[in-house]
């Protein structure tokens, strides 16, 4: 990374993020910065805290301590006049979340709405767009995931791969600053993962800022700019894909990579 880029303000920053469920510490002091346009893949064994990390990034989980900044603004906390931070209002938290797209393993489409209705719901409800305006945006993003012909189909009539692509269009329609993907292809039959990964690859090529939790090591290696290996809630390895996959410093990362190879 050259100096010009390194000096930019990070689009996303985690400062000493911790999360415990009861006495169980899932995330232990996570700190990192991320520049706009970067694709960051997060890998690690099941239970290492990857989903919890993503869910803290958009405040679906409230961190036990530490702060996440989106474009310099703290999420879930408000700066006081004296410089201190206090809990933010639900309205402001929602406003911040609206700038972060999230794609879930289980798609989570709303079954009582057609594909297009799913996509235009948040632009209408959250941004208050007029129906015609929202439809225009909705159709644009359905086109981007190659599903314009399924705009009026209900989720039950779509394959898993199509549902996940609608879910991606739904998140994109809010025109977020960062997209989060939590194992977007893990619930899919193997023959359907390709169409979803293709969409994600196209987004990456367009310069979308993405945090991708994935078990697809090929995707992490070929598409991302940066790979992070999480182990028991700690960042064990963080670097360019060539370095993480080719010559990891952490012994645990090495062991994990050889365990998931083929």
């Amino acid at each position: 990374m050259n100096n010009a880029v390194a000096e930019q303000k990070p689009i996303l920053e985690c400062r000493d993020l911790r999360k415990a469920f009861g006495a169980f510490e899932v995330l232990r002091s996570i700190s990192f910065e991320m520049q706009a346009g970067v694709v960051l893949s997060v890998i690690g064994a099941s239970g290492s805290g990857k989903s919890t990390l993503l869910r803290c990034l958009n405040y679906l989980e409230q961190p036990s301590s530490g702060v996440v900044f989106l474009d310099g603004e703290p999420i879930g906390l408000r700066r006081q006049a004296d410089g201190g931070l206090k809990p933010d209002s639900p309205a402001n938290i929602a406003r911040m979340r609206a700038q972060i797209g999230m794609v879930f393993q289980q798609f989570n489409l709303w079954p009582h709405m057609s594909a297009l209705e799913n996509v235009i719901e948040a632009p209408r409800q959250v941004k208050g767009l007029k129906r015609a305006e929202a439809i225009e945006i909705g159709r644009h993003y359905l086109g981007k995931v190659n599903l314009l012909d399924k705009a009026d189909a209900y989720p039950a009539r779509l394959s898993g791969g199509q549902q996940q692509r609608v879910a991606i269009a739904r998140a994109l329609a809010m025109q977020p600053k960062v997209m989060l993907f939590d194992e977007a292809t893990s619930a899919l039959d193997p023959e359907l993962t390709g169409e979803v990964l293709d969409v994600m690859r196209a987004l990456a090529e367009e310069g979308t800022t993405m945090v991708v939790v994935t078990h697809e090591m090929r995707f992490a290696r070929d598409v991302s700019d940066r790979v992070m290996f999480l182990h028991q809630g700690v960042i064990e390895e963080d670097g360019a894909p060539a370095q993480v996959f080719g010559n990891p410093a952490s012994e645990r990362c090495r062991a994990f990579l050889s365990s998931v190879a083929h």
Partner: protein, 234 residues
């Protein structure tokens, strides 16, 4: 001789003679049904949501409400609302307070059925996967919008069969309102019976009329919901 008696007493034409009175009576049942159903469902949504509240005391209070009204016979509740509630309210407000039989019937039945229906609402809401709500939250939607746009529309459709059978019970239960002197169909039938002494055709006719209304209404709703299902989501 015997068959002649049977024929006479089963003569439903007497029902036809009194059709106007009877239909006016039935209309009272229909009015009370719609008013108490609206009240019951509105209360059921509020109480059903309260049962899922994060706050301990809201949950406790709503559980008390549900148990109280689910386990009190409708008839007792009706009598209580008609005779006891006005006395209590008069004392509390220190003014004369009266409830019309119609209002008492709507209130009594509405509250009684809201207890059952709130359980249906609660189960319906709980059946909606948490991920559906989280997807809305992640997009920046507020809790109210998520409830209104995502949870309730799905939950209400899911509740439909159960709700329908409770509405049928509610309509049947409107037949007890004559006991607090609402001039409903049962009231009209007993009035005619006092004059004519023809219990068999009169009460049989009333039974058949109830049956007819309920069967045609449920058939209609089933056809409607079948149309919903065909729109694409199960």
């Amino acid at each position: 001789m015997f068959s002649e008696t049977l024929r006479q007493s089963l003569d439903l034409s007497i029902f036809w003679e009194y059709r106007q009175t009877l239909l006016v009576g039935l209309l009272q049942n229909v009015y009370i049904f719609f008013a108490s159903a609206a009240l019951a469902m509105a209360l059921a949504v509020v109480v059903g949501l309260a049962r899922l509240s994060k706050r301990f005391w809201v949950r406790g209070l709503s559980t008390f409400y549900v148990e109280l009204f689910r386990n009190t016979p409708e008839f007792v509740l009706l009598i209580w609302v008609y005779y006891v509630l006005p006395i209590l309210l008069s004392r509390l407000l220190a003014t004369q307070f009266n409830l019309s039989p119609f209002l008492a019937a709507v209130l009594g039945l509405g509250v009684a059925y809201s207890g059952f229906m709130s359980e249906t609402v609660r189960a319906g809401i709980q059946a909606i996967p948490k991920g559906h709500r989280e997807a809305g939250t992640a997009l920046g939607m507020r809790d109210g919008a998520i409830l209104r746009r995502i949870v309730l529309p799905q939950a209400l459709r899911r509740m439909l069969p159960e709700m329908l059978s409770q509405l049928v019970s509610l309509f049947k239960a409107t037949s007890i309102v004559s006991l607090i002197a609402v001039p409903d169909i049962m009231y009209q039938v007993s009035m005619v019976n006092v004059e004519q002494m023809r219990p068999l055709p009169l009460y049989t006719g009333a039974a058949l009329l109830f049956c007819l209304v309920i069967i045609s209404a449920t058939q209609m709703i089933q056809i409607l919901s079948e149309r919903w299902r065909r729109r694409g989501w199960a």
